[in-house]
């Protein structure tokens, strides 16, 4: 009997959940809000929420953003995109962040002819051969090449140890493109490997430092970069550490402390290099709203929202086909992370910014144009 009462009660609770709906232009944000890479999803969400606050209306209609969680999983991403299209009836989609997940999701969106903009999936395959898939970030080969040139020419490095996170395709890809360019320039490379979630790098570092590298290249994500930097300094390595855009997060400094001084990284933007007006506004508003500096992830998600907003405005219609067409024709879009011209295959042509950490702050170093 008690079981019965319990079941009935549960049923009542579940049935009394009613979702809220309204007449609007809908954009879905399919993000990894929980699971292994929840941090990026949460940062992305911050950027999109701010963008929605700053640009809430287009064509006289309110824009409603529906956040759909992917649990950082592929199957969930594909389902989430299908749900966004068929159930939420959205006009455009932002997401996902991880390349593999974006691929699973974009297969669905492309078939349904709904434009999808990924803020941060840098793998070349994500947009390849898809008419309705776009991104606002640059692709891995480009970033790796720039990093290698910077290391060789500006940092004067000849002997580099690369720390590859073998669990992240992003990281393996970057390391690979870096290696190609750097060895072509005449430098030598030695490789160490680790896995996402590893906490102890003492063995790899002991080995790596016995090779007397000029710099370390760690194209992974900020948690591991911070830990590697900390432990590297403890082992007496004080040279520069070069990283990719995965480094850019406040947590890098929080976790790394003094150790992350002299960490250089390739990324999408820096306030001091603000090529656009919107960038400084964004930084100011972001700090006002969340009390911290925006990360690259927040900025890219902000841009993903904004580029869709811009496309709707230019198309003068919220029809998905028209939005997609307008996205393809993007020429002089001024986003937070730079000026974007949409190239063929939905990949933007934009500049790479190189920043470094100095006394617990991100400082602008240089900008490399394509």
């Amino acid at each position: 009997m008690r079981k019965m009462t319990f079941l009935v009660f549960t049923l009542i609770v579940l049935l009394s959940i009613v979702s809220i709906a309204a007449e609007t232009i809908k954009i879905a944000a399919v993000l990894p809000l929980t699971g292994a890479v929840a941090a990026y999803g949460q940062q992305g969400k911050q950027g999109i929420l701010l963008a929605n606050e700053m640009f809430p209306e287009v064509l006289g209609k309110k824009i409603e953003v529906v956040f759909i969680d992917t649990k950082s999983e592929k199957a969930e991403t594909a389902n989430a995109v299908a749900r966004a299209i068929d159930y939420e009836k959205v006009n455009a989609i932002i997401g996902e962040l991880i390349s593999g997940n974006s691929l699973a999701g974009s297969a669905v969106a492309d078939k349904k002819k709904i434009p999808m903009v990924t803020p941060a999936s840098t793998n070349p395959l994500v947009t390849q051969g898809k008419k309705y898939m776009f991104r606002v970030c640059f692709i891995d080969p480009f970033q790796g090449e720039i990093a290698a040139k910077f290391a060789y020419e500006n940092l004067g490095a000849r002997n580099v140890v690369i720390f590859t996170d073998i669990e992240q395709d992003y990281c393996v890809g970057l390391a690979n493109f870096f290696k190609k360019t750097f060895t072509a320039l005449g430098g030598t490379i030695y490789e160490e490997y680790y896995r996402t979630g590893d906490q102890d790098f003492s063995a790899q570092l002991t080995d790596a430092l016995s090779r007397n590298p000029d710099i370390l290249y760690v194209p992974g994500y900020y948690t591991e970069i911070a830990l590697i930097a900390r432990q590297a300094r403890q082992f007496g390595f004080y040279g520069p550490i070069l990283a990719g855009d995965g480094a850019e997060a406040q947590q890098l400094i929080e976790i790394g402390g003094d150790a992350v001084n002299d960490v250089y990284y390739t990324t999408h933007y820096h306030p001091d290099a603000a090529q656009t007006e919107i960038a400084s506004v964004f930084i100011e508003k972001f700090q006002e709203k969340y009390g911290e500096r925006p990360s690259a992830m927040s900025a890219l998600n902000f841009d993903a929202y904004l580029i869709i907003y811009d496309a709707i405005k230019r198309a003068g219609s919220d029809d998905p086909e028209a939005i997609a067409q307008a996205l393809r024709e993007t020429k002089e879009f001024k986003g937070v992370t730079g000026v974007i011209k949409m190239g063929p295959d939905g990949n933007p042509i934009k500049s790479v910014v190189i920043n470094k950490v100095e006394n617990g702050e991100f400082k602008f170093v240089t900008v490399v144009n394509p």
Partner: protein, 303 residues
């Protein structure tokens, strides 16, 4: 790899440190397994919760760091006690597999609870915000550089283990624990409050996990809802290597596993990607050929 003496000593120090942390977590696993024959999958998540308690103790409740740590350890203990009361006690007489499944469920539950309450963004458990900067200073001993933190962690680990051995071997409750692990039914007949003793075992094991979590976070200052899974699994492997059910075994297994992991990566850096495979292969070999582990007692089924 050029393995010189200083490099070897450096790796030795790293291995001892990692091993000590594994040992702390492994003890809790081992105690619970010794009594209930239950692989408490949620143990790693108690470890994670303990770390969060300490983090919020300092940042939200503005407690001094040492007090926050003590409160967090006690909090982890209470959490362990509650987990046993809510999830495992009702299944005492059910098939063992049921408890194992529930433990898996509990692990998923605690992780998602942490995501909901604490959010998915990792928290930084670093000085000077959480604990004094003094600990992260480096000491140069001969050619080996060791952080003060290392001594702190080893010291606390040793202290906790000594306390535990005193508790298990010299107090009444400890005696009851050992009695239950030999024969639960008979012990109950002797008038021992079995449920209470099991609850206390969970509480102590979980408190140790909480302490392990805090020390872990001091060393690797990244706190997130999923941080407990791998160390938890590794600690379980350590417990099995040493002989599950035995406290000394868990310690030995912890140190061995930590050392093996560090040394393998040090000697064979190319195989760093296979690091976790080593742990699992050791686990499987031990389970196949000496399931009682190095120090464990032999368990045989009667026909």
């Amino acid at each position: 790899m050029r393995m010189t003496l200083p490099i070897f000593l450096q790796n030795l120090a790293n291995g001892i440190l990692l091993g000590g942390l594994y040992a702390l977590i492994a003890i809790g696993y081992s105690m619970v397994y010794g009594i209930l024959r239950l692989i408490n999958f949620a143990h790693g998540d108690v470890f994670m919760m303990g770390t969060y308690f300490a983090f919020y103790g300092v940042t939200l409740f503005l407690l001094p760091w040492w007090l926050a740590f003590v409160v967090a350890i006690i909090g982890a203990g209470i959490l362990g006690f509650l987990i046993d009361r809510i999830a495992y006690k009702p299944l005492r007489n059910a098939p063992r597999i049921s408890s194992l499944i529930t433990a898996i469920g509990m692990s998923i539950f605690l992780e998602s609870l942490a995501v909901v309450i604490f959010g998915g963004i990792p928290k930084s458990f670093a000085p000077p915000r959480i604990y004094p900067k003094f600990f992260s200073k480096m000491l140069q001993i001969g050619s080996v550089r060791v952080q003060i933190l290392t001594f702190f962690i080893l010291g606390i680990t040793a202290l906790l283990i000594i306390f535990l051995i005193w508790f298990v071997y010299k107090t009444k409750i400890g005696m009851a624990m050992r009695a239950i692990s030999t024969d639960i039914a008979t012990t109950a007949l002797m008038g021992v409050n079995v449920d209470l003793v099991i609850g206390i075992t969970f509480a102590i094991g979980s408190a140790l996990a909480g302490a392990g979590g805090i020390l872990w976070a001091m060393k690797y200052p990244n706190v997130n809802p999923y941080m407990g899974f791998m160390p938890g699994l590794k600690a379980f492997i350590a417990a099995v290597i040493g002989g599950i059910g035995s406290i000394q075994g868990a310690m030995l297994g912890g140190f061995l596993l930590g050392m093996i992991e560090i040394m393998l990566v040090a000697f064979l850096p190319r195989f760093a990607g296979y690091r976790d495979i080593f742990a699992f292969i050791i686990l499987i070999i031990i389970l196949m050929y000496k399931p009682s582990g190095i120090l464990g007692a032999k368990l045989e089924e009667k026909v």
